[in-house]
Symmetry: C2
Subunit: 459 residues, 2 copies
Amino acid sequence: MKNPLLVPELRELIKDNNTQSLKDFCESGHPAIIAELIAALSPDVAWQVLLHADRPIRSDIFSHMDIDFQTELVSFLLREDVASLMADMAPDDRADLFKRMPEERRESILPGMAYAEREDIRRLAAYEEGTAGSVMTSDYALLSLGMTAAQAIDRLRWEAPNKETIYYAYVVDNSRKLLGLVSLKDLILAPPSAMIDDIMYRDVLFVRIDDDQEDVVGKIRKYDLLALPVINGNDALVGIVTHDDALDIITQEYTEDMEKIMAIGGSHENAVYMKTPSWQHFKNRAGWVVMLAVLGLVSGFIVQKYEGILLQFTIMAAFMPMLADTGGNTGSQSSTLVVRALALEEITAKDILRVLFKELKVAILLGLMLGIIAFARVVLFGGGSTIPPGFNIGLIGVAIAIALSLQVITATLIGAVLPIIASSLKLDPAVVASPALTTIVDITGLLIYFQTAKMVLGI
Amino acid sequence: MKNPLLVPELRELIKDNNTQSLKDFCESGHPAIIAELIAALSPDVAWQVLLHADRPIRSDIFSHMDIDFQTELVSFLLREDVASLMADMAPDDRADLFKRMPEERRESILPGMAYAEREDIRRLAAYEEGTAGSVMTSDYALLSLGMTAAQAIDRLRWEAPNKETIYYAYVVDNSRKLLGLVSLKDLILAPPSAMIDDIMYRDVLFVRIDDDQEDVVGKIRKYDLLALPVINGNDALVGIVTHDDALDIITQEYTEDMEKIMAIGGSHENAVYMKTPSWQHFKNRAGWVVMLAVLGLVSGFIVQKYEGILLQFTIMAAFMPMLADTGGNTGSQSSTLVVRALALEEITAKDILRVLFKELKVAILLGLMLGIIAFARVVLFGGGSTIPPGFNIGLIGVAIAIALSLQVITATLIGAVLPIIASSLKLDPAVVASPALTTIVDITGLLIYFQTAKMVLGI
């Protein structure tokens, strides 16, 4: 686009009811860019602009707005306007919007739509979030056996305006059973009289409707696909997930994983940080933090139980923070590596022993090194603390060093094993990562610390 | 593929020199699947299998192997074999492989290749890792002004076998300046005699060769693109990044971010957990952990400095772990949210005050709630600890509650501000997240803890 209009200029055009200029504006760039510019307006003014665009362009721009803005915008439109807007949207996008509408609104809008669209929306909106069904679109191009390449290209030409992609077309039988895949490239390269039956690729990769959306992305990524078909329990083709959806899903999953790892609850949407009210941020974060703080009180009870040791050896209090942090850090490292290896399907739950053996080796090396550092620290700078008669600083150093080494080893192993257990229980490995892990290894660390001290120092 | 062959069967076929069966096997499924099956063999046996595939298929399967396996495999091939294998590979894939080869090997292979390929490899391998140039491919389809749609389709048909995609074709002038974009869909829909000049989309989105690969993915995702052109300093088209590369890049960035966040060094590759030797794992993890442990010693000095308070009020030792953990958790939460918001370009460094104001509100709510919990805990279960005469448990509870609230507020703000500072210094915001942050807020937390206790208890 050459001269992007600014918000005041847009307002001016609306005031003057400058129909042509508003229409030109809507067609002056990529719908995503126009959507971004319009979203700076209030929803009612945004609609005044959109109204001037031709219907397909209007829906295209609308589809590129974020779903909160969409939801707000449709909330004050006449139901006829909503119905016509949604009729032109991609099936997956409109199903997402539909799911966001209040119950009464949904029921009032559906009658204004054609039967096929209505059923399509109902069907797509019914799939559980996070499944292949919930992210697929029902606008895919179909071909039949017995067509020639030329006929197939004609068919695709005719269907193109209403399909998400015509670069992949699927060949199905009368019961929509998936028989093959033909790419537009294959059709262009084939002689016009070649039969679809001979051109099509028969071993088509697919996912089932209930498969996790992460598996969908995994397949699209691994096999460099433009789209992946989704089939139902009767092996009938019901939708496709396209490459651009895969990018959106992976970005979404990324945000979700990071937030789960850092013990943040809520809906885990992308790019809603500033928009989310502080009160909602508080609610999203308070749950886990409070749970962990309460769990952290266990550490307090352990310290209280061994209070006598601390009173005798105050130097041990000085090493408590380092013990806790180092355990948390090494545990987070192993858990992160294992969570990623699980997510990328490099390892599965049955590799648990191999993983533990590997982590044990790493942990022993880390433990030894950190133990030596702690010993040096105690012996070099421990002089400031009072040491009870009959004990020497070297022995205390040995006790702290051994405790830290054991802490590093157990924390690393716990960090590696928890995500594997979670994954074999079909839980998300991410939730047992960082903060939860830190709190757990704090507790085990303190027990190791005081028990080691008792044994080494003979108290 | 109907009957996947297993490793022993493959070995049998090689022993019998069963050329036809080995060839059939190589063509029996998606190259990515064949690559995965062959990768279970040792590189030399894998090559025995690959040899039987036709050249383009051989390179295709080879391209789908992971780069470590590729590097190992080519290390014992004759340089003629390497040159012919690389000649058929996609330019971006072969440039990646080239970069992995030892210096002498590179120099010995290049002379065996055609001049154009040699220059292409040299050029692509020269771009800095992480830039658009380093991930682009040079096999894109070009069209010229003055062609008709029918001529353009003929041209694409002719070029298809050697191009990464023919679904987008780029229109350039004599100096390769990018004039427009035509999709194969547009060409199919246009009348055969329509001119490219009229069909092409002129405001083509592009990136520059030095742009960050994350920006490339951001554009492909936002505008739902199949490919994004890359231009050099003279505005000449030099490559494209395709949708499948975008998925690979984002997956790679994800692994990298997570590992950086958890203070793991090294090369941050995908799916190499099991393959990486324990010694290398140790080296990747030891650096940060040791640095943080040494930094953690500062906490020890602080505790030593306030040893007197701990000796008087042993109950305060019991709350040290909870104080540290809660600070680490709340700081990790705010830093994660800010890191994601920065990555998704929802906020930039100039939003620092708005972010701080938002986080302050959230932090006050979290601080109040956690303070109340801590107070209740002290008053209800604090009886077990010895309290010096002249002090009551309620006052100690108030001191600990205030300290925890202040700790939560500072940790949250530090967590929010560090990634923003890092980003405005052009550092990766991820490195200041979790473990580094935990160690920092431990230190600030202990200072807050003891100072608050001194003031509230008047000691």
